[in-house]
């Protein structure tokens, strides 16, 4: 159910303005872009450039001041809370910077949470495969407090994938991890795109992380100032310097 041209997410002239008068902040100043299926996109930009705002609007967590978002063929701007909830449940996956696992559930229970919420029986084969992929076979019944930060984040990635969503949004998923754990998480996102045909959109500050992506969008003052292949980490660093 993608749009004809294979775009999973289409954003048209998105504007987001906070406050008014003197305190007015333009977080997004007309962003138009689209995301292809089975692709890994990274969004970068200086602090305050509107990355998170853009991602939240794309994911239906926030509403734009103007502009439209079409997600998997559905125009999401203007949907009510119930429809947005179902959309997030069935079509979206999320990975946040802080390990948003439920402390009271085991790793495996956290992993299948979106399915439990939907009242669906998890496909055990798929769950097993995910657990294997994230390398937590022997940690299934552990609680988050008994997992390392990297392990927790890998559970969060697996959770985002479990309902086979149309898009996975990740906001600085490695922001809190050391380089080894970061590499594991990024590798996982990469494999999700390559092996499981997932679409991933990731906001990051880390050039190394951006280098794992197929495409790099750079924002500045709420506008897209660069859109292309990231190349290696050094290329990204170079690009960032140029934009500064």
């Amino acid at each position: 159910m993608t749009t004809e041209d294979g775009k999973v997410v289409v954003a048209e002239d998105l504007t987001k303005v906070y406050g008014s008068g003197d305190t007015e902040v333009v977080a997004l100043a007309g962003v138009t872009t689209a995301f292809d299926r089975d692709r890994f996109t990274a969004i970068m930009g200086p602090s305050g450039s509107g990355k998170s705002t853009l991602m939240h609007i794309l994911a239906g967590l926030d509403t734009p001041t103007a502009g439209t978002v079409i997600l998997d063929g559905i125009e999401i701007t203007g949907l009510d809370d119930g429809a947005l909830t179902r959309l997030r449940r069935d079509k979206l996956g999320f990975v946040f910077q802080f390990f948003n696992l439920l402390p009271v559930l085991t790793a495996e229970e956290n992993l299948v949470l979106p399915l439990s919420i939907a009242g669906r029986r998890p496909d055990q084969e798929w769950v097993d495969q995910l657990i294997l992929t994230v390398g937590l076979e022997d940690r299934r019944t552990h609680r988050p407090s008994e997992l390392s930060g990297g392990q927790q984040q890998r559970v969060a990635v697996a959770r985002a994938l479990v309902s086979k969503p149309a898009v996975v949004f990740a906001d600085e998923p490695t922001g809190n991890l050391d380089s080894k754990a970061s590499a594991d998480v990024l590798d996982l996102l990469r494999r999700a795109v390559d092996e499981f045909d997932q679409t991933v959109v990731m906001v990051t500050h880390d050039p190394v992380a951006a280098a794992h992506a197929d495409r790099l969008i750079t924002l500045r003052d709420g506008r897209i100032v660069h859109d292309g292949a990231p190349g290696g980490a050094d290329d990204v660093i170079e690009l960032m310097k140029q934009l500064d």
Partner: protein, 850 residues
């Protein structure tokens, strides 16, 4: 620092208010109890002094019996002439003021069931205290007046018929006047007035007075006049100035109604105790939530003392709000309780609401002490926050040593509590001391269980959560896990409800045992017959009712019992119930004989008595030994024990004597209960109809009951008291439920990020609501389960020593399950607000919430 503390309360004003509500309600109830009872006493004060308007000295008979007696002694009319001869007496007159029954032309009772109705006599103009607001004073036979309030509520006016029943048949009067006593309201009581000879005749007090009122001549003081009168009268006459008499009457009322104040205050303090749990919990949670704030303050150089001060200042502010709003609420509670008592037929006289200094002092003290003491432990915990907490998440978690200490304290408290309860039950000491031991023991056990309950929370949450999880898999599961997350928190919240529900359960189980025991006694001992008694269930009925009943076709005979109170001289020394049955009593009721037997009772002499086993035990009596009673008239009959019976729920009292002795020594000629014995083949239903038509018409205070109705009547009496207790306990339940909502609200606030995440990954608002609601249900069920167990155990403990009195416990399983279900539903109700708040959280904001 002070400013900071106040600011911090202001910032969380809604929470602070919810917390103060836990104090406010309890304090309001305590204040209200005082206001109500003080108001009642003030009203009686007013009534008594008004009723002695124009009177200088009052003469009544001394009542030597320690406790209240149903028959009040009278003075002989011959005293009057002696008094009139005393110099300085301007005017003296005898008066009657005796309880009776009042009815309209259609035999409809005037005044509510339990409110007193009086027959009084007119006094000469100078001594009369009633003012006539309409019509005139009764001038002769056939004329009567009624107090205006009673006439209005009964819809009676001048010229209507008023039927009055005293010690004989009911008699019709023409209503000729409406009266009022100053500005006082009698509550539900009604007063009918007739001329003195008529009053004496109605109450069977010919040649006697209830009191003699004396007016003094100008220039003679009441005290001087009293001294002079005392000289001409025997010692059995009590001569008092009007002031003394009013003061004594008020004092008697204070003693008589003291139990009301005590009961209300007990419920008030239970509510306060429950509130204390809530405050403790709220402070513990907020301190835990503000750890990093305290950490920052510490890095900025705030001392431990300052941190402690800021938390305690917050407690003080809540205490202040509790005291002020609670006191104001006391007025509302007093008005509400008064309306409640009136609604259930216990109308009480009132004037404007009275707020005494004592009420203010007690309320303020309670409010401050409770908040302060409850906040103390959390406040000290806040001082243990190290500056480093500003940087790291730090939870001052209870160490192993502390846990062990807690267990030890719980175990010791529990043991001491149980020992106290057992000691209180086993007896020794007065009723007050025993009640205090049982109450104190109960409190200790409750605290012990609360200290122990964090350990019980996990398994109980699993039990309570299991069915919910069957219905709603994920939300049920999360609710259960969330309830178990901070067991201490859930435990204290549940413990508050536990206290309230333990009392509800205790009362339910105990009342159910009482009802079934009464039913057993009635079924076993009054089999098949009919019973005539006063429709209020306790006042006596005229002896004429039994004679009238005996004449009804189908009735073989009527056995009656007359009752009075007496002190035992020597021996145990207490006041006991004395019964005078007719010799044929065993045709109507079974007596369980331990010594003697039916023949001894049939041929009982006037100087013989049959005693209950417990009376014999307490006074060291056996067949053949002698003992002496003291009656309200001052008579001292010396009696020989002729037999012994087994006491069953005290139906026959302690001592059985002849009715002749009852009349001579106790002046009791009215019956407490008539047992109607039927001819072998008589149709009981038909006889009952005839009795109702005949006896009830002539003696409208009497009511004919068959075995089933009698049982029902007794059950209804128990039920009405139980319902009153339920209502009073409702307050504690409400406070504990506020606690559930409060804890839930605070936990949700803590879990904002988590809720945002759940919503982000697709949890619907409805699911969030369900989850929160179930958490409340689980907490409420944990409290209910603990409360049920505790209540049942207490009931079983207390029932133990009552077994030999014929009391057996019965467990109303249906009702207990009902309590559990209701507690669960209450959880649903109190979760409405927190659940809605949680479901309305903005997803994005929650995610970014720190």
């Amino acid at each position: 620092m002070t400013k900071l503390a106040l600011k911090s309360i202001w910032a969380r004003k809604v929470r602070a208010f919810a917390t103060s509500l836990a104090v406010i309600l309890g304090v309001a109830f305590i204040a209200g109890s005082y206001v109500l009872t003080d108001t009642i006493f003030a009203a009686f004060d007013e009534i008594f002094s008004e009723s002695l308007h124009g009177t200088a000295v009052v003469i009544t008979a001394q009542n030597p019996v320690k406790q209240e007696t149903r028959e009040v002694p009278t003075v002989p009319a011959s005293y009057l002439a002696k008094v009139q001869g005393v110099p300085g007496v301007k005017e003296a007159a005898g008066a009657i003021f005796t309880p009776g029954g009042l009815f309209d032309a259609e035999d409809k009772a005037i005044g509510t069931k339990f409110a007193p109705k009086f027959i009084s006599s007119t006094l000469p103009k100078g001594l009369e205290s009633l003012t006539y607001v309409d019509g005139h004073r009764p001038r002769g036979p056939g004329e009567a007046s009624l107090d205006k309030a009673a006439a209005e509520s009964a819809g009676l006016g001048i010229g209507d018929t008023l039927k009055i029943i005293g010690a004989g048949r009911v008699e019709p009067f023409k209503l000729v006047g409406l009266t009022q006593l100053g500005q006082a309201s009698f509550g539900g009581a009604s007063i009918a007035q007739v001329t003195l000879p008529i009053a004496q005749q109605l109450t069977h007090k010919r040649g006697r007075f209830d009191q003699i009122s004396v007016a003094s001549a100008p220039g003679v003081s009441a005290v001087a006049l009293k001294r002079r009168i005392e000289k001409v009268l025997p010692l059995s006459a009590r001569v008092e100035t009007a002031k003394e008499k009013a003061a004594r009457s008020t004092e008697e009322i204070r003693e008589g109604l003291g139990f009301l104040q005590t009961i209300l205050l007990v419920f008030g303090y239970v509510a306060v105790l429950v509130g204390a749990f809530i405050i403790f919990n709220t402070f513990s949670i907020t301190v835990a939530q503000r750890v990093s704030e305290f950490g920052v303050l510490r890095t900025l150089g705030a001392s431990r003392r300052q941190i402690l001060g800021s938390v305690l200042l917050e407690a003080a502010a809540i205490g202040l709000v509790g005291a002020v709003v609670g006191l104001a609420g006391g007025y509302a509670v007093a008005a509400g309780l008064r309306a409640l008592f009136t609604a259930i037929g216990f109308g009480l006289p009132t004037t404007g609401l009275v707020m005494e200094a004592r009420t203010v002092i007690v309320s303020v003290l309670v409010a401050f002490l409770v908040t302060f003491v409850s906040a103390l432990v959390p406040a000290f915990r806040s001082t243990r926050v190290p500056p480093i907490a500003a940087l790291h998440a730090f939870t001052p978690s209870p160490s192993r040593r502390r846990r062990v200490a807690r267990f030890a304290i719980a175990a010791i408290l529990g043991a001491v509590g149980i020992a106290l309860v057992v000691a209180g039950l086993a007896g020794g000491g007065g009723v007050g001391a025993r009640a205090a031991r049982i109450g104190g023991g109960g409190l200790a056990v409750v605290v012990a269980v609360s200290l122990f309950s964090p350990t019980l929370v996990r398994p109980l949450a699993d039990v309570a959560g299991w069915p919910l999880e069957r219905v709603r898999h994920l939300t049920g599961r999360l609710a259960r896990e969330n309830a178990k997350r901070s067991p201490g928190r859930t435990a204290i919240t549940a413990a508050a409800l536990m206290i309230a529900l333990a009392l509800v359960t205790f009362i339910t189980v105990f009342a159910s045992g009482l009802k079934s025991s009464v039913a057993t006694v009635i079924d076993e001992n009054f089999a098949g017959g009919l019973v005539i008694e006063n429709s209020d269930g306790f006042s006596p009925i005229p002896a004429g009712a039994a004679f009238a009943a005996a004449k009804v076709p189908g009735v073989k005979s009527v056995a009656t019992i007359r009752t009075a109170e007496a002190d035992v001289l020597g021996g145990s020394g207490g006041t006991v119930k004395v019964n005078g049955p007719t010799p044929n009593i065993e045709e109507g009721v079974d007596i369980e004989w331990l010594a003697g037997g039916p023949a001894r009772l049939r041929h009982l002499a006037d100087d013989e008595a049959i005693v209950s086993d417990s009376f014999a035990r307490e006074n060291g009596l056996e067949v053949g030994s002698k003992f002496t009673l003291l009656s309200q008239t001052g008579a001292r009959p010396r009696l020989t024990v002729a037999g012994e019976f087994e006491s069953k729920l005290g139906v026959f009292g302690s001592v059985l004597v002849t009715q002749k002795l009852m009349a001579d020594a106790f002046r009791q000629t009215k019956d407490t209960t008539d047992f109607v014995i039927l001819e072998p083949h008589a149709d009981a239903a038909k006889v009952q109809t005839l009795l109702t038509l005949g006896a009830e018409r002539a003696f409208p205070t009497a009511e004919v009951l068959n075995q089933g109705e009698l049982r029902e009547e007794r059950e209804k009496q128990i039920d009405s008291i139980v319902q009153l207790f339920y209502l009073l306990l409702g307050l504690a339940v409400v406070i504990s439920l506020i606690g559930v909502a409060n804890t839930l609200g605070l936990s949700i606030y803590e879990r904002t990020r988590e809720l945002g995440m759940l919503r982000a990954i697709g949890m619907s608002r409805r699911q969030v609501r369900t989850m929160i609601r179930y958490e409340a249900v689980i907490t409420a069920l944990i409290g209910a389960m603990l409360g049920l167990v505790l209540g049942v155990v207490f009931a079983a403990l207390i029932a133990q020593p009552l077994k030999q009195e014929g009391f057996t416990l019965s467990y109303p399983v249906g009702t207990l399950v009902g309590i559990l279900v209701l507690a669960g539903l209450a959880g649903v109700v109190v979760a409405i607000v927190p659940a809605r708040r949680a479901s309305r959280l903005d997803v994005l904001e929650s995610l970014q919430y720190e």
